[in-house]
Symmetry: C2
Subunit: 300 residues, 2 copies
DNA sequence: TGTAAGCTTGAATCAAATTCATGGTTCGGG
DNA sequence: CCCGAACCATGAATTTGATTCAAGCTTACA
């Protein structure tokens, strides 16, 4: 049986935390609902236990030593985590909080436009969006749900397929003339293309799925964010390879059009809903998950 | 005066933490050096305080409820942080630990080759390298020192300039013939170039500093990591724009050569040593900082 | 120089953590 | 089917340790 780490006396630590935060024992005492003397005793106890001086005392003024500063900076987040976790478990508001991590582009172009529907479907839900590109450890970071992009194979998470990503060339209305639209391969060779730096294969995939030769990308405009790509296409800078469902909104609003008919290229990857394998989602998270699934269905 | 967050009874929390970790009260009790009964009372107290059931009890077996699992996952890191911070402050070993964050390429090509010198200069130092590209919050993440790349203007940190980044075209020995080397502009137009996706301006900067027209990058090989760029150049795939001091090792080993003489292009950016503004570095961190500065001097 | 503000100290008190002794539940083996 | 082993629960007793109280120091500043 592994030994448990040695922890300092925790109530002494709490007293030190308050004292360091306020910079004076008196205020710390008031905040904790005890007396100055209590703080003084507890801080002293912690210092003895650590054999390290945490405060410089010079009469009525105290000041953190540099060890004290460092220690405070290191333990402060821990208290924050405990408080947050406790509040989430204990308060009714916390129980309605659902944190969802998803790619920024999907948040902007797919989720946010639908978000007022969520309030109707699950009243009272308090959704927290975490848009980050890296694959975070859901359980460690306390995230309830994730929408991830890829093949659906990740360790330690349960996944459900939400929707495939479908590729479709898009451009500003009128950028591709009606006659040109009948010759996709020729048009792509003639016009400037726009591509995503991180997904350089998208054009080739679309071309392959539609029986065209892969277009030359030498002079293509490159961006590393979907925002910029769609904005550039809408400005008439070229033809972009857009991904459904992200471009749906702009196609409906006709700020972009899909000039070429025909089957859409399925990029092979999909968006998946994921949550930590060994954690049953909360009631609130379950509702959000179901709502996300119905929204995804509608787009197919 | 802001109110302090309401925290659960901390010793009850510690008991729960141990119980959840071992999955049985008996082992938790042994680990904490108290009796089963103590754990039982404390866990019950926490459950009452939270008004949430944390364990399912069915006779001699207990099991975390899903609330309990979630709560444990959320508080466990906090205990880890407290333990780590305490150990670093309290143990002699911890006081010699210095964590340094720096770009991965600088770690690989500049720091690591010099690392045995550090042991001689500062015996007993226990250096922890954190290679990450994002600009982390040093104080929050408990990092003592950082080497950052850029203009030297960052909030909340004290910086000292370490060394400028100098650009220099590099290639496999023999890839550029002696006669070609006398006509850099022509050679760059004729040969394939290698560039870093994230720093597309490097070639233009070098060219400007040396009075050449900016080379065309349309057909250039693009990589998003310095590793790959230098490996590609060493393979004879093209001419790369390397950055001193990263390429120094490979130039010395003659796995790469700098075919063009003349002034090197200073990229304008430099590497800076940084630490949290309001935290005095530890003695150990101070030693490492001084050693890094002397190493940087030598390269100029 | 005196006084107010604020921390310290040590003894006394009180609350909380822990133990002890006992009882109850489940599970597996004979 | 029953018994014993393994484990957790419970409540009263006890011990630990957190907190207060009252008095004393130290420093800043008027």
């Amino acid at each position: 049986m592994p030994d448990l780490p040695v922890l300092p006396p925790l109530s002494a630590l709490r007293a030190f935390h308050a004292a360091a935060r306020f910079g004076r024992f008196r205020d710390a005492a008031t905040a904790l609902g005890i007396t100055e003397s209590g703080i003084s005793h507890q801080v002293r106890k912690l210092e003895d236990w650590l054999s390290v001086r945490l405060f410089e005392r010079s009469g009525p003024r105290i000041k953190l030593t540099s060890d004290g500063e460092r220690y405070y900076a290191a333990i402060d987040p821990a208290f924050g985590e405990i408080r947050a976790a406790t509040e989430a478990l204990r308060t009714p508001a916390g129980r309605n909080r659902v944190s969802l991590t998803l790619p920024a582009s999907l948040a902007t172009y797919w989720l946010i436009p639908r978000l007022d529907g969520l309030e109707k479907a699950c009243p009272g839900i308090d959704l927290e969006l975490v848009t980050t590109s890296r694959l975070i450890d859901l359980k460690r970071e306390g995230v309830d749900l994730a929408i991830r992009y890829g093949g659906g194979q990740w360790p330690d998470v349960t996944v459900r397929r939400l929707m495939p990503e479908q590729l479709v060339p898009v451009a500003r209305p009128g950028f591709v003339a009606a006659v040109e639209a009948r010759d996709p391969a020729g048009t792509l060779a003639a016009k400037r293309l726009i591509m995503h730096t991180h997904y350089p294969q998208q054009w080739a995939e679309w071309a392959a799925a539609n029986g065209h030769p892969p277009p030359a990308l030498a002079g293509a405009l490159r961006f590393s964010s979907t925002d910029q790509i769609l904005a550039a296409a809408a400005q008439g800078l070229g033809i972009a390879i857009g991904a459904r469902p992200m471009v749906d909104q702009m196609l409906e609003a006709r700020s972009l059009v899909a000039p070429f008919d025909g089957p859409r290229g399925d990029s092979g990857a999909s968006y998946f809903l994921a949550w930590p394998k060994d954690l049953k989602p909360t009631v609130a998270a379950g509702k959000v998950a179901r709502w996300l699934e119905t929204q995804a269905m509608r787009d197919l």
